[in-house]
């Protein structure tokens, strides 16, 4: 059913935007390469399940591998100032996509196809829904917790956060690990759901789209990223017209939001 397809896609976007929100909205670390982790989770599932490994362990491994790379990126982020970090995340996105294109076992430009969907057409959307609800729960739990407060404080002022006892370095890394791990889980769901994945599905334009969704919706909150995912994502899905103009619209949207309403988006403004 078309509605189920759209709904599943929107849920995956929601998990992606919420996971990005942990890193960028709450902890204030710009990630313009989030799509790469989505891709890592997808490719892990794609490669493993097409070689006979059942979905469940492949899915978890995908999340863990993505989180592992997130750990690397998080550690890198400790050494880099904000705009350098943004560039590094972009470069990371490109390197990952290039890896999908050029390394063996990933199928090159054709990607991986024939990825099996567990639980069938009736059951799988329920898994996606359950995951989305789980991520929402975790997101809210984190946001109301000492961890979330530590993130927000380091977003607003790293030096003041240190002065109140927050280990800024440790929690920056935590944000990356959690956010990227969840994106990896979203990737695994996406791979199984759509059956065919290609390197360009996880490129920089998707990272821009995700950031646009989070930024336009309102960073740091729950409903902001969700609204961004459902509204912008829904738009693109429901109207082929919009789909064709997706990039120019998202790009302009991002530019307009930054130009006219950047307040409340990132803490360190002004």
């Amino acid at each position: 059913m078309y509605a189920v397809t759209v709904f599943t896609q929107l849920c995956i976007y929601a998990v992606l935007t919420l996971s990005l929100n942990l890193i960028t909205g709450l902890a204030g670390q710009v990630s313009l390469g989030h799509a790469a982790f989505f891709g890592i989770g997808a490719y892990v599932v794609g490669v493993l399940t097409t070689h006979g490994i059942p979905f469940a362990p492949a899915w978890l491994v995908g999340g863990l591998v993505a989180a592992g790379f997130g750990l690397v990126l998080g550690s890198i982020s400790l050494r880099l100032r904000e705009d350098f970090l943004a560039i590094a995340t972009i470069a990371f996105n490109f390197v990952v996509v290039a890896a999908f294109l050029y390394l063996p076992y990933f199928g090159g430009a054709y990607g991986i196809s024939g990825i099996p969907k567990p639980l069938g057409n009736a059951g799988f959307p329920l898994l996606v829904l359950a995951t989305t609800l789980g991520v929402v729960w975790f997101h809210e739990r984190a946001r109301a917790s000492d961890l979330g407060l530590a993130w927000m404080s380091l977003r607003e002022s790293e030096v003041a956060a240190e002065a109140v006892g927050v280990d800024v370095r440790r929690f920056k890394v935590t944000a990356f690990v959690l956010g990227t791990g969840l994106a990896g889980l979203a990737g695994g769901l996406y791979a199984a759901y759509i059956g065919v994945i290609r390197p360009e599905d996880f490129g920089f334009p998707l990272s821009v789209t995700l950031l646009a969704m989070v930024a336009v919706g309102g960073m740091g909150t729950l409903w902001g990223p969700l609204a961004g995912a459902f509204v912008l994502g829904g738009f693109a899905q429901a109207f082929a017209f919009v789909h064709n103009y997706q990039l120019v619209l998202y790009g302009l949207l991002l530019a307009l939001v930054m130009r006219y309403r950047p307040q409340g988006l990132l803490g360190k403004l002004g």
Binding site: A142, D146, A150, E162, A163, V164, G165, V166
Partner: protein, 248 residues
């Protein structure tokens, strides 16, 4: 008893020596004033004590424990709190949340501290602190909407939430008008005796009288030390300030 001792601290930035061979001692319960013209190295010294900077030479000892290479957050957890010359409030957070950040530090062990940050016990403690500085009525407002004078008080409340054994105040009166300055000084005077404080202040006229002891710096060195009135009249101190056009 000695709360803090800085021995032979030296810090260079490229060719510039910001702090040179500084010895400083802070005793329990006292309010120590650190004075000097712009560029004397006062804030750098603070940064060396709070951990924002590491010295090129020398050491910092807190209650007998060497903390010279400890990161700032570890020092904060051991009881060194500080306010900033340019106020560093958590703008998007509410006034209450600003204080709650400091109350969470004991729970921030490990990698996934998922307890609620606004548990009732903590809220009460935070509100009490806000009352002490007179900000309780604005608890729900976002910090970025507050005027500078109130933000300075918020920083003090946030620092006190750490239950600090040493409170470093970096130019707390900076940018405040007369009334705001008096209000803030009242808050600080109320702490006298309970909390050990070191105060860096450019506004010598208002700050010197409240100190138990004073230290004067110029060009990275300590040039005078002792009772406030004595330091004030010290010839080198007068010269340092006159060179700046300030009357001490």
């Amino acid at each position: 008893m000695t709360v803090l001792e800085a021995r032979n601290l030296t810090k260079r930035f490229g060719g510039l020596v910001a702090v040179s061979g500084v010895h400083l001692r802070v005793d329990a319960g006292e309010l120590l004033g650190l004075f000097g013209p712009n560029g004397a190295g006062k804030t750098t010294l603070f940064n060396l004590i709070s951990g924002t900077l590491r010295p090129d030479e020398g050491e910092v000892v807190f209650y007998g424990e060497p903390i010279t290479h400890m990161p700032p957050h570890a020092r904060a957890r051991r009881g060194i709190a500080r306010t900033f010359q340019v106020v560093q409030a958590f703008g998007e957070l509410t006034v209450l949340e600003n204080v709650l950040t400091a109350l969470a530090h004991r729970a921030l062990t490990g990698w996934l501290p998922l307890g609620r940050y606004d548990a009732p016990v903590r809220r009460r403690a935070a509100m009490e602190l806000l009352e002490r500085v007179g900000l309780a009525s604005r608890a729900g407002e976002r910090a970025k909407n507050l005027p500078l004078g109130l933000l300075k008080r918020l920083e003090v409340a946030r620092s006190l939430a750490l239950q600090p054994k040493l409170l470093l105040l970096d130019e707390p009166l900076g940018g405040l008008n007369l009334r705001e300055s008096e209000q803030l000084l009242e808050v600080l005077l109320a702490l006298r005796g309970q909390t050990t404080m070191v105060l860096v202040e450019h506004n010598v006229r208002m700050a010197l009288p409240v100190c138990d002891r004073a230290v004067a710096m110029d060009a990275g060195r300590v040039i005078a030390e002792g009772r406030p009135e004595d330091v004030r009249r010290h010839p080198q101190v007068i010269e340092a300030y006159l060179g700046e056009g300030e009357d001490a």
